[in-house]
Amino acid sequence: MDWGVIAKYEDLLVRCLFNTILLTVVATICGTILGLFIGLGKMSKNPLWKVPSSVYVELFRGTPMFVQILLIHFAFIPSIWNAVFPDAEIPGPLFSGFVALSLNAAAYIAEIFRAGIQSIDPGQMEAARSLGMKTSLAMRLIVLPQAFLRMLPALGNEFIALLKDSSLLAVIATEELGYFAFSVAKNTFERYPPYLTTAAIYLVLTLFLSRVVVRGLERRFSPK
């Protein structure tokens, strides 16, 4: 066993670590925004909003992320790009990674939003409406802030899952930690050093997310 291979591939490790964090942060933000609209859509009475939202959630929740990544990277993005921007260069694997992770996360986050919002007593909305607030305003000022607090633990789980799932992007040669692990292992025939190093880094990152970020948010948003 030669742990020296890690030092030899240090540059790659740094780039991969940076990209893993970047992918998780971007997918978290985009997934949350998109997930909010889809989650609200699933509760909407307007079928033009409700049906696509339900279909979206079922599609992304019902197919493996691995397959979604291959489809998005090798099929959808090249086709769409060629149709919309025929002269522009097709963006690389990192972009496909952002898209795939964000779209996938949105489906799960939509369900978290729906569960969170539905857990708030309907009396709150009724009270706000009877005071003259519009539904959208009541949703924004009364329901969502309370729902968000209840959603935080589930959201934390989703972000941790997202961080770990980003390793699947290795298959499209996105330089992230999963790619580091398999590229070094394949090229050096060393197994333990690259895989254990990568596992340890993921563990540190997920511990940081759960202990510091999610707990900090919970403390910040909980009423005194």
């Binding site: 030899k8 240090e10 540059d11 790659l12 260069e89 040669a173 590229s183 292992a185 025939f189």
Partner: protein
Amino acid sequence: MKLGKKWLGAFTLTVGLGILLAGCGSAGSGQSAPAGGTDTAASNQASTATTATTAAADKVYQVGTDAAYPPFEKMEGDKLTGFDMDVIQAVADAAGIKVELKHTGWDPLFNGIDTGTVDIGISAITITDERKQKYDFSEPYFEATQLIMVPEDSTVQKLADLQGKRIGVQSATTGEQVVKKAFGDTYDGLKGYDDTPSAVDELFNGRVDAVVADNAVLQDYVKKLTDKKFKLIKDDSFETENYGIMVKKGNAELLGKINEGLNKIKENGKLQEIHKQYFGE
């Protein structure tokens, strides 16, 4: 209510056992099916040699390959075909051993040899010093060299022109190794894919500027993909490589048989015949 619960328990137990039994049954038949399949394939290809020696050598050696490397190995339906598959079958027939072909993928192939789930590796594997430290190789059976594949309008003329450009390779192949040798182990334009077709796909999508891979594989694309516009470039720094059949380090007995079979098919012209079938000349 109590009775209901008991009934539920009995029902669950029956269904559970049923599923378990059904699972065992299908697993058993699943195992026997591929073995039968290879038997017929083997007897089709070279009839008498195998059947005559069956009694003497009834061990079936597991041959692993990464079946995404045409024309050397690919999946046709659920059958493994290609140059390497014909070669190993001819070698086995000549040496009087039985083999079963299976698709393992590239990295699991090396791992399988380590752990003993795979006895023989044949997958366009170039004999390199690095690999020789960990595995034993047969005599060479094919001569290859690396080529660079670029779009037709590319200005690239040699490997050095690729400095700063994005290069697609199959991870851990000699193609990746020549790129690393030229531009460094952690060169950030290097994209290592799980298989070569993915890397070539990315060239057509414009996500990489060049692909470096074995000549015979890239030449096969030229034949097949007449509608795409690209060209192949040879760099003088690329050394000639030899493909070998790989076994676990120290397995001299099996290696001896393989070399014996290989020498036989070299002498009786069978190897040239297979070569001609796939590469012409």
